[in-house]
């Protein structure tokens, strides 16, 4: 008899364990009985605070809505999102932040995974955003994401280093000008022109492609890595390597430490890097400036964009409508966007926000330069990068082409080999 009880006890314990495991209806928030709604969201880094502050603003009109934002690492958000979507939408939040280069991939890989915003009427807001941002949030002519921040490109530079080498950043108009300036700076101060994680990431190459109106893929989804523009961009980057002007850094942390210790004269990045500079390099206030990416030829396009993200709503949640309503407010409210920019350095893509006062103000940390005006003016000229749903594969192959170039392969050949591998992996055509 005694044994029998023990056995039942064990079985009960086992059953309880199982129950514990299966109780994962995930982060999906619940509509409370008293009409209160709690939205759940996944985001990373400074975006979390921006979202929370926007909710505080939203609550003035909608006191019944709350938000719980989980601060998850950028790549972990994607891993969790992919796993949840692959499992048929289990355990997903009401709102998720997705970078622009991934929107198309997600929306096409999981066509039923996200709320079609056009069906909710988001079309009416479309012309409030720059055209490239609209293109990025649209898949098969429907909006699947609400545009949030953008990354208009710029060269963040150290005034003191430029002055020591007596280089005037205003005289730098083309990449060749910048190459000469870089040599002069190296000679006078020993400092490299720019940082790069040569074998693992290609942000500078991507900005150059965007500047030249091309990308890994073209508008029709064909592979564009062998275009004369792509070859020119990679060769330009290699010219800096041959002059020993690129400092090799280890990922994001390496770039940030090079930024702080002044071992590079410029950092070519998106406007969002402002937030990191003022946060991590506090002692260098006043020593910074920005100029646009140099053009490839005199008078050529200097506008570019790197990164930026948008909000998506996983479909099937209980709070779809509440999430849509809040995000629509956030995306189209100049006030909320300016808070995100001033407090978190997230550059808005809402055209109306650029009318706000802060966009004509001088930035003390950047030596009184009107940097926001510079970035805002740049936005209208940014070309659309065509990421496609195979962007992750394109990035993988482009980084290999860059690594091969740095290990001695001719850039044109490295890009050709990468394009061929990419064609094999994606069944896409290679241009010309």
């Amino acid at each position: 008899m005694k044994n029998w009880w023990k056995a039942t006890g064990l079985a009960a314990a086992g059953a309880m364990m199982l129950a514990g495991c299966s109780g994962t209806d995930g982060g999906s928030g619940s509509g409370g009985e008293d009409g209160e709604t709690t939205l759940t969201a996944w985001a990373w880094n400074v975006n979390v605070g921006a979202l929370e502050d926007a909710m505080a603003l939203y609550q003035e009109e909608n006191p019944d809505v709350k938000i719980e934002v989980e601060d998850i690492g950028r790549l972990d958000v994607y891993d969790k999102l992919s796993t949840g979507l692959a499992a048929g939408g289990v355990g997903l939040p009401d709102i998720v932040l997705v970078e622009d280069d991934r929107i198309g991939g997600y929306a096409q890989a999981f066509p039923d995974g996200f709320l079609n915003l056009s069906e909710k009427g988001f079309e009416d807001n479309a012309d409030q955003f720059p055209s490239f941002k609209q293109d990025l949030a649209t898949v098969n002519d429907s909006f699947y994401a609400m545009p949030f921040d953008a990354g208009p490109g710029g060269m963040f530079y150290r005034r003191s280093i430029f002055e020591e080498a007596s280089v005037n950043p205003e005289d730098i108009e083309t990449w060749d000008d910048f190459l000469e300036a870089g040599k002069k700076i190296k000679e006078a101060t020993g400092v490299a022109a720019m940082p790069l994680d040569k074998f693992n990431d290609d942000p500078t190459f991507r900005m150059m492609l965007n500047q030249l109106g091309t990308y890994y893929f073209d508008e029709n989804g064909n592979i564009d890595l062998t275009s004369p523009e792509a070859v020119m961009a990679m060769e330009k980057q290699m010219a800096f390597e041959e002059a020993d002007l690129i400092k090799e850094v280890d990922g994001w942390n390496g770039t940030v430490s090079a930024t702080i210790d002044g071992s590079v004269a410029t950092i070519p990045f998106g406007a969002w890097y402002y937030g990191t500079i003022i946060d991590q390099a506090k002692d260098t206030s006043g020593d910074w400036g920005v100029f646009l990416l140099p053009a490839f030829e005199e008078g050529g396009n200097r506008a570019s964009n790197l990164g930026g993200s948008s909000w998506m709503i996983p479909s099937g949640g209980d709070n779809e409508d509440a999430a849509y309503d809040f995000l629509e407010f956030f995306s189209t409210s100049p006030e909320a966007q300016v808070i995100a920019m001033e407090d978190y350095g997230l550059f808005p893509s809402l055209n109306a926000a650029y009318e706000e006062e802060v966009f004509t103000s001088e930035d003390e940390f950047f030596g009184g330069q009107k940097i926001w005006e510079l970035f805002a003016d740049e936005m209208a000229d940014v070309e659309t990068p065509y990421y496609t749903e195979d962007y992750a594969l394109g990035l993988d192959e482009a980084i290999k082409a860059q690594a091969d170039s740095f290990n001695g392969t001719d850039p044109a050949e490295a890009l050709k080999a990468a394009a061929e591998r990419l064609a094999e992996r994606t069944d896409r055509e290679i241009n010309n």
Binding site: A11, L18, A109, P111, E424
Partner: protein, 284 residues
């Protein structure tokens, strides 16, 4: 009486239920997945297409080559080192045995990701190791950015991590070799080195087989070290099949193809283990 007949099932019940949910179900589901293709949730049955695609997939073949190079170079070095250290630490002449044994075993306790990060910092272009090398007056070595040195870095890191683990297994095996064998050999004038090759190694044969199989399985599934240390680069020079599986599933969302890779790894491990059993010719 009836109750009594039920009792055994109650004991095995929880284990069977847990096993079927967390092991059997994924194993069967991924087998089904391996015959499907498409991105994300757009999966459709394509029969053996995935397996065919794998045979002509240049990146998979590169990953396979890398994995086998690591296997052929790293496993013998590691097993041999572990054997030597084990027999040295087993020597009756040695003082502070405990201290040495613990020191050699300690790396095996560290987390895979943590030690890989430390190695990646030390092996950086201007990291500690290159600073020492250039202080001695030699050229810096592009540890993580050159295709050859990136593989060498992996071999060094993995050997550091796993030698102690295998050493402990060998130490246990050494305790079973009768002392008389060594005494007799010494009487006959066999040197220490001869004793090592003619007594220690043959006596440890089953243990060596065991560690080799474990290491082979470990290398075929290798993921953490290349993921952290080199990210598979430069240009796929250190991409392993384990990493390619992860990339295919979670970076490129092709879960069907990723499952196919997983099954091919399983088949490879089975074949390799079978060959090792045959080659070492276990009599039983």
């Amino acid at each position: 009486m009836k109750q009594k007949a039920l009792i055994p099932y109650m004991f095995v019940g929880p284990a069977v239920i847990l096993f079927s949910i967390f092991m059997a179900y994924p194993i069967i589901y991924s087998l089904i997945l391996s015959f499907q293709s498409g991105q994300g949730s757009n999966l459709e049955f394509t029969g053996f297409d995935n397996f065919q695609r794998l045979m002509s997939d240049a990146i998979f073949i590169t990953a396979l080559k890398n994995t086998f190079i690591l296997l052929i170079v790293q496993v013998p070095i590691m097993i041999f080192l572990a054997l030597i250290i084990a027999s040295l630490l087993n020597s009756a002449l040695l003082k502070f045995k405990g201290l040495f044994r613990v020191s050699f075993f300690l790396p095996a306790v560290t987390s895979l990701v943590a030690y890989s990060i430390i190695f990646s910092i030390m092996l950086m272009n201007d990291g500690v190791i290159n600073q020492v090398i250039s202080a001695v007056g030699l050229d810096r070595i592009p540890w993580l950015s050159d295709p050859f040195w990136a593989k060498a870095s992996l071999v060094i890191a993995m050997t550091w991590r796993w030698v102690g683990y295998n050493m402990v297994i060998f130490l246990a095996g050494l305790q079973n070799i009768p002392e008389e064998l060594y005494e007799a050999a010494s009487m006959d004038g066999a040197s220490r080195i001869k004793q090592f090759f003619h007594i220690t190694i043959p006596s440890l044969k089953p243990v060596i087989l065991f560690t080799t199989i474990l290491s082979t399985i470990g290398t075929l599934q290798l993921f953490d070290e290349p993921f952290v240390l080199t990210n598979g680069g430069p240009s796929d020079a250190t991409l392993t099949i384990g990493m390619y599986l992860y990339q295919t599933g979670f970076r490129f969302y092709d879960f069907g193809y990723a499952s196919t890779i997983a099954y091919v790894i399983v088949i490879l491990i089975a074949v390799m283990t079978f060959i090792q059993f045959k080659v070492t010719g276990d009599q039983e």
